[in-house]
Symmetry: C2
Subunit: 296 residues, 2 copies
Amino acid sequence: MSFDLRTWMERAREEVEAALSQTLDAYLGELPEQLNEAMRYSLLAGGKRLRPLVVLAAAEAFAGAASRDNPAVMDAAIAIEMVHTYSLIHDDLPAMDNDDFRRGLPTSHRKFGEAMAILAGDALLTEVFAVLTRGSEPCRKDLCALFALHSGARGMVGGQVDDTTSEREDSVDFLDRVNRRKTGDLLALSAAAGGCAVGVDQGRIESLQRVGYLMGHAFQQWDDVLDVEGDPALMGKAAGNDAQQGKLTYPGLIGLDATRAAARQKIAEARSLIEPWMPRAQALMGLAGAMIDRRH
Amino acid sequence: MSFDLRTWMERAREEVEAALSQTLDAYLGELPEQLNEAMRYSLLAGGKRLRPLVVLAAAEAFAGAASRDNPAVMDAAIAIEMVHTYSLIHDDLPAMDNDDFRRGLPTSHRKFGEAMAILAGDALLTEVFAVLTRGSEPCRKDLCALFALHSGARGMVGGQVDDTTSEREDSVDFLDRVNRRKTGDLLALSAAAGGCAVGVDQGRIESLQRVGYLMGHAFQQWDDVLDVEGDPALMGKAAGNDAQQGKLTYPGLIGLDATRAAARQKIAEARSLIEPWMPRAQALMGLAGAMIDRRH
C-alpha cells in the first residue's frame, strides 16, 4: 500500500486540533474567562499546523505508528503550536509589526486590546511548559530543555531581536541568520522534539535538528518565490508584497532561479539525512518535499 | 550561637547576585548584544531579591546549610527572579501600567524601546526553563511544572489579567484574589521550589506553598499600610500614593488597624506551619516575620 501524504496530514491535523481543544478545555474555569477566550481565539484560529505535523512525523520515523499513543509526542506537538501562536500574538503588536489582521481575522490586540494580547502571549508561553511536564515519561525534562533552547534568546526570540533592531545588511548571510532563527529554529525544535519524545539518542536528535533547519529554511525561501510569482487566488494575498514593502528577500538578493535552486538543494540534503530512517520516515520525507515546489 | 537574619540575608543576596551575573555571562556571545544588554539591565537592577531568598530559606529548612551546594537550589532561586523580572518589564509597558521609572531607573521600554522590552521579557521567561533544566537532579522536571503552574495562566499571569481587565469590585474577596495571584503565587512558588529542589515530599510542598501564600499576602497588606503611614525617606516614594490614585487597598476597605491585624494573623499561621521544621528553618521563620512590622 503506497503512502499518501495528504491523508496522513489530514488525519494528523485533526488529532492535533482535538488535542489543542482538549487542553484548553481542561483549563476552563481555572482561568479568568477573558484570558481563556484570548488564548483559545489565537490557538484555534487555524493555520497549517506545520510544526505539530513535523513533531508527529519525526516521532513516527523512529517509533512507528504507535508513537501517536505516547502522550509525550502529542504534548510536544501541542506545545510547539503554543510557542508559535504566542510568538505571532507578540509579533503582531503595535510596537512590533503592528498587524491588524492574521488569517483573515483581527489580531489578538485588535480584538482583545493590547494588554490582554501581551498577557495571552505570556500565558501561552508559560503553559507550554505545563503541557510538557504533565506526563511522567523520562523525556519530559529533556523536552523542556529543547523548547527553552530553541524558542528563547538563543533561538526564536533572538531571531526576532535581530529582525527588529539590527542594522539591516543586504546580504544572504544576514538573511540566512534571521530566517534560521525565525523559522528554522522552530522547525528544528519540532523535529528534535518528536525524536526526543520517543527517546532517540543525542546523535539522532542532532540529525533531526538539522533536518528541521533545512526544512524551515527552504520553506522560507519558497515563500519568497511565491511572493514574486505566486497565484494570488491560491495565496490569499497579492503577489509582490515583499518587494513593494522593501523587504529583504532571497529573490531580491540572488534572483528567482538561484532561490529555487537553493531551496531544492536544502531539501535534497534533508532527504539524504532522512533516507536511512525509511520506510517509517515516509511522513517526514513527504513533509520535507512539501516545503518546495508548492503553489501556496 | 544565635541566628542573625540580617547577616544571613546579606550573604544569601550576594550569592544570588553572583549566580545571576554568571548566568547572564554564560549567554554572552550567544545572544544578540542588545538583547543581552536589556535582559541584564532589568535583572541586575537591584531590588530586595525576596523571592530567591525564600527559595534558599525553604531549601535550608529541610536540607540544612548544605542545600546551598545543590545546584538545583540556586538555579530555582535565579529562575524565580527571572520570572519576577520579566513580569515587571511587561507590567511597565505603555499598554499595561505605563510606568517610566522603576527603582529610580528608566523602565526597559523607556531605555530600549517597546519592541525590545516585549522581547526581553519573552526571552527571560523562556530562559527560566533553560536554567531549571540545566542540571541533572531528579527534581528538575518537577521544578518546571511548579514554575509553569504558579507563574502562568492559573497563577501570576491570571492575576495580572484580573487586575487589568476585571470589573473592579470594592470587596476584600476581590482584592484577596488579585493579591493572591500577583504576589502570593510567586512567593508560594518560591517556597515550594526551595523544598522541591531538595526533594521533599508532596505534603511538605503543599505546606510550603501555603507558607509562601501567607507571606506574600501579608507582605502586600503591610505595603498598603506603609503607603498610608510610611516614612517617605525610608520608602523612596511619597506616602498616600495609592489613595490618590484611587487604588483598591486594604486600609481603604477595612481600615489601618484591621489591615495590620490581618497581616499579623497570616504571619502567625505561617509561623505555626514552619515551627515543626525548626531549628533548620530559622531563616524561613525570620523571613516570614520580616514581612510585617517593617518600616520600608
